[in-house]
Amino acid sequence: MEQFFTAVSMLFTTWVVPAALGGLIWGILGGATPGLSASITMALLLPFTYAMPPMPAIVMLATCYIGAEYGGSIPAILIRTPGTNASAATIMDGYEMNRQGRAGEALGLSLWSGVVGGLFGLAMLILLTEPLSRLALLFKPTTYFGLGILGLSVIASLSSKSLLKGLAAALVGLMISTIGTDPISGVSRFTFGAPDLLDGIAPLFVMVGLYAMTELMMRAGIMGNIIKPNASIRVRLPRLPMMKKVARSQAIGCGIGTVEGLMPGAGGTVAAFIAYNECKRWSKTPEEFGHGAPEGVAGPEAANNTVASASLIPLLSFGIPASNSGAVLLGGLLIHGLLPGPRLFEQNSDVVLGIYVGSFVADIAQVVVGAVILPLCVWLVNRPKPYRSAFILALILSGVYTVHMSLFDVGIVLASGMLGYFMKYFGYPFLPAVLGVVLGNLVESNYRRSLVLSGGDLGIFLEDPIAIGFFIAAALIMAGALLAEWRASRVRKAVSA
């Protein structure tokens, strides 16, 4: 009850509400801009949050994720181009509704389902996160090492196309994390005499380079949408009969979104497509799907908005990001010196409570903000791609400079962009590299601290039951991914034969 009153007072006495609204608006605008995914939108916001106090900064990033999930459905419905990957499933019925002159209704359904999914995901987040994080009160250096290994093992399930390529990407990320001053001995590594590198390379710059700069390079010269949405479109929120009609689809979306949000690597895209499929399977009128069925918009949108909150559960409890957007949020936490886990709940309870309150405010405010800024989103969607690219590049380079007011950082972002281009060109996934950069220091420093404590005896890792649990979980995740890859290769061979 005390926490409830603290949460209520937060609404009036802190920067939670302005931060939540700012993040929400930024997220909706970014999500609505074709070419900017939720993670890119968040990565572009990261530099601006650097100078802020931790609580509003993290609230802004978390609510940006919520906004981007709704924003992505706007171009999906209006111009058949998903603003974010997770909104791709919305195209099937959302765009069809638009073609039938029901764009406002489709946007209203997307908005309403986003609110339902967001609130459900938030309830799950509040219920599950703190009990899980209490486990981490018992953490020692050996446990943190085990946790880091578990985090890195997620790579296996994130490298859907090739486990080896995921592993190579993670190794490159770990290599980047070794640049700077050694955490134990204080010796400088791979700095080549450059003082700017002594503090290492901040994950923030690698993320902005990999996600945002690479995307600009990959899309250079490719013309954008040719469908121009009508600027006079307005959101039409569903009335009670329609709310009842789509309630079952939303429930399916919420359930699937929660499960997928907890699973590393699944994310909103997978959740939205599974939800679409299940909504169709359980519908009394499955034949309407693909021809403008409201349930075909409600289910996927509820699912991807549930994921936006549910994916914070493993992130806040153990520091394991389940998606690209989660990795960017983890980067935001680390920038402000916040380590996910029980200490976050003990020492920075205002940040955790701020995330809950901010997410609640963003979920509710979405109804009004989403409708009010729709004309601005349509205007953004209608801008010629050359101007969009120019302004995004200007925003990247200006935003990154503000972090340390250094052009050297701009160079690091460009170098990361080049790395990202080659990774994408050769089919290497980004997220393992980002995890390597983010978790590298945690893994190395805690491994070495453990050995210092034990006098070099590796047996110390077997004396920590939680660490053993993490090692077993990591081994199971990797074995599962290897099995999946082996099965996939057998299927490929059978097909080619």
Partner: protein
Amino acid sequence: MRKDIFSSAILLAIAGVYYWVSTDIPTSTLEDEVGPRGLPVVLAILLAMVAVVIGTRAFMTAPVAGGAPEDVEAPWPRAMGMWLIGAAYIPAADFLGYWIALLLLISVVAFYEGMKFSWRSALVALGGATFFWLLFSVLLGVRVPEARLFG
């Protein structure tokens, strides 16, 4: 498959250079069991092993006719052009200052992306550079790069 062979060669080169540079990491009196070189050496060896396996697998796998459909992406010279524009911004900001560098950046990127030079595009670049300058320098109080050229 050719891409995999090429990428495995690049990874091998990265592993080799990284290992070579890691041998130059100085020793310290505070050194522990593993030492500052420990992880870099392990990473270099692991990357080399993974690169060899990727390359070998690419050699042994028969190319699939047609291959998997890929995302629409810019040809590499076009992508490099965009990167070079970004890279040119750094000396431009250092010598000409933030506002002029940004004005040039927006104009050149818009032109590179297919927008023809016109009064309208010049006004957009002018407005954009001024907007960002007002946002960062005036509103957020960031000490933006000043023009060295003008003293």
